[in-house]
């Protein structure tokens, strides 16, 4: 943290320092406006990339967590054996390590599950429905293969379904989406750095004569660089603040989470709203580093 605060403190000190010294460089109108605009658009885009990363992260976590610990055992057996097999399964589950609880669903519950697909007045009792047993695993989880082997021996009609089959691709997809979001944030930061470097390079080149004069009256490189860095860092900060606030406003207006929230809306939740607020600070640091690097590099070519 301290390693992070020292450069930030230096940037803050620079922004607060002597505005008279920055007057030695004439207003760099076009390049400065370009920087403001670039920082604003990039921050705006970064807010969405960040929202994507955080939302898909939430999605991945939710799926992984909620689904990882629930499983079902489905028993298909002739009506005569259903009772015994159900009991056998429940007995096995109770003695299986890693199973927190197991409960056979009642007819009413099973009917409610099917209602969306069939009409409510369908006589579900008359259909040869499999019996569903709801299983909750402990956090450590259970050995699905061992359980399947035991079930095959003692209750041949029982199928253990731990949801891994369809859960994993979803979690993986959400994870990829999160990675994509963070990659986008990184790329946006990198291209912002590149554009600010280009803009400040243009401003430096346009002021080669001024820089020459400053060098000849005894100015050190850092004095000259600071005049540019101060200006470009401030523009970057301002632009990024505008872009971030605009982006956050738009994200806030997006249709959000439904109450059951399975398809999470693109956005921030709770404390995550603080994360985009870091973007202007980060952008300021990028502007600072990019301009300083360009300035010091260019100054080395002037005597």
């Amino acid at each position: 943290m301290k390693a992070l605060l020292t450069p930030l403190g230096r940037i803050a000190a620079l922004l607060a320092s002597d505005p008279e010294a920055s007057r030695v460089v004439p207003p760099t109108g076009f390049a400065a406006r370009l920087t403001l605009f670039t920082a604003a658009t990039m921050a705006f885009l970064a807010v969405f990339a960040l929202a994507l990363a955080l939302a898909s992260g939430r999605l991945a976590d939710r799926w992984a967590d909620a689904l990882a610990r629930t499983a079902t055992v489905r028993i298909s057996a002739p009506p005569g054996q259903m009772g015994t097999q159900t009991e056998a399964v429940l007995r096995i589950l109770r003695t299986t390590p890693g199973i927190a609880s197991a409960r056979a669903m009642s007819d009413i519950e099973q009917r409610r599950l099917l209602e969306p697909w069939f009409s409510p007045d369908l006589p579900v009792e008359t259909l040869p429905l499999p019996r569903l047993i709801e299983v909750t695993e402990t956090r450590a989880g259970t050995d699905a293969e061992a359980l399947r082997l035991r079930l095959a021996v003692e209750a041949p009609g029982a199928v253990f379904d731990d949801h891994t089959r369809w859960r994993q691709p979803l979690v993986r997809a959400a994870g990829r989406l999160r990675l994509l979001g963070w990659t986008a944030v990184l790329l946006i930061g990198a291209s912002m750095a590149a554009m600010i470097a280009l803009a400040s390079n243009a401003a430096l080149a346009a002021n080669a004569q001024v820089i020459g004069v400053l060098r000849l009256v005894g100015a050190r490189d850092i004095f000259i660089a600071r005049a540019f860095v101060r200006r470009f860092t401030r523009r970057t900060l301002e632009g990024a603040a505008i872009g971030t606030l605009a982006g956050m406003g738009v994200v806030a207006l997006l249709p959000g989470d439904g109450p059951d929230g399975f398809l999470t809306g693109l956005g921030f939740s709770g404390a995550q709203w603080i994360v985009p607020l870091l973007l202007p600070v980060l952008a300021g640091a990028i502007g600072f580093a990019a301009t300083r690097w360009t300035a010091m590099r260019m100054l080395r070519r002037i005597t």
Partner: protein
């Protein structure tokens, strides 16, 4: 204070300056003459480290230029006041701020030097023009402002490249007078010029020596002047 030892310089093509040596003593007064294009400006640029010579050594206040980093060069330049041939002002800043530029660059408190600044402006006769922008000034005003900027850090050496370049004779004498005053305060002066009358005028007041660049070499001119 400024020492050149067997200095040669070329801008890539043929050699412009060849094997020049000089040891500038404190409180000395030199003119540097030679035909246009002989290399007077180039010579002065080598003296304040704007140019590194192709060959030979330059020592500023005892420090070898080759061993100085960029910040070291910047610090040396603060001890050498330069009046550039083109003055080298920042056109977007009023005269006052152009003159205090070396103070700012040296990290000195500009506001604290207000009284010195007023005296300096009065000395060069630019009190009324302090808020004008450089492009609004006459040639003589520019030259005097450039001189004010050159002395604001109280350097020990003042190098003036054609300080009377495009002013009338009366103004030339006025500028020369300022430089002679500085010399009497103990500062070493080097003036590049091809105005022989200026050199004669100076010789009536100070023991000025005349350096001449001709055919790529530096000569100490005889007593013909």
């Amino acid at each position: 204070m400024i020492e050149l030892e067997n200095v040669s310089h070329s801008y890539g093509g043929s050699e412009l300056l060849c094997d020049m040596s000089l040891n500038l003593a404190p409180a000395s007064f030199h003119f540097l003459t030679g035909p246009s294009g002989a290399g007077k400006t180039t010579f002065l640029k080598i003296c304040y480290a704007e140019l590194h010579p192709s060959h030979g050594a330059v020592r500023l206040f005892g420090a070898d230029l080759a061993g100085l980093d960029r910040d070291g060069v910047a610090r040396m330049r603060r001890r050498i006041g330069v009046v550039h041939q083109d003055c080298g002002f920042l056109d977007h800043l009023p005269l006052r701020e152009n003159i205090t530029l070396p103070l700012l660059a040296a990290g000195r408190d500009v506001a604290a030097e207000d009284r010195n600044m007023a005296e300096l402006l009065n000395w060069v006769g630019l009190t009324q023009r302090a808020d004008a922008l450089p492009p609004q000034l006459s040639g003589g005003e520019r030259q005097r402002a450039a001189l004010a900027r050159a002395v604001i850090l109280s350097p020990d050496v003042i190098l003036a490249d054609e300080p009377t370049g495009n002013v009338d004779w009366e103004m030339s004498l006025r500028i020369l007078q300022l430089l002679i005053e500085l010399n009497r305060m103990g500062k070493a002066i080097v003036i590049a010029t091809h105005d022989m009358n200026l050199i004669r005028a100076a010789k009536t007041q100070v023991a000025a020596r005349v350096l001449r660049i001709q055919d790529r070499r530096l000569y100490l001119a005889g007593a013909d002047l």
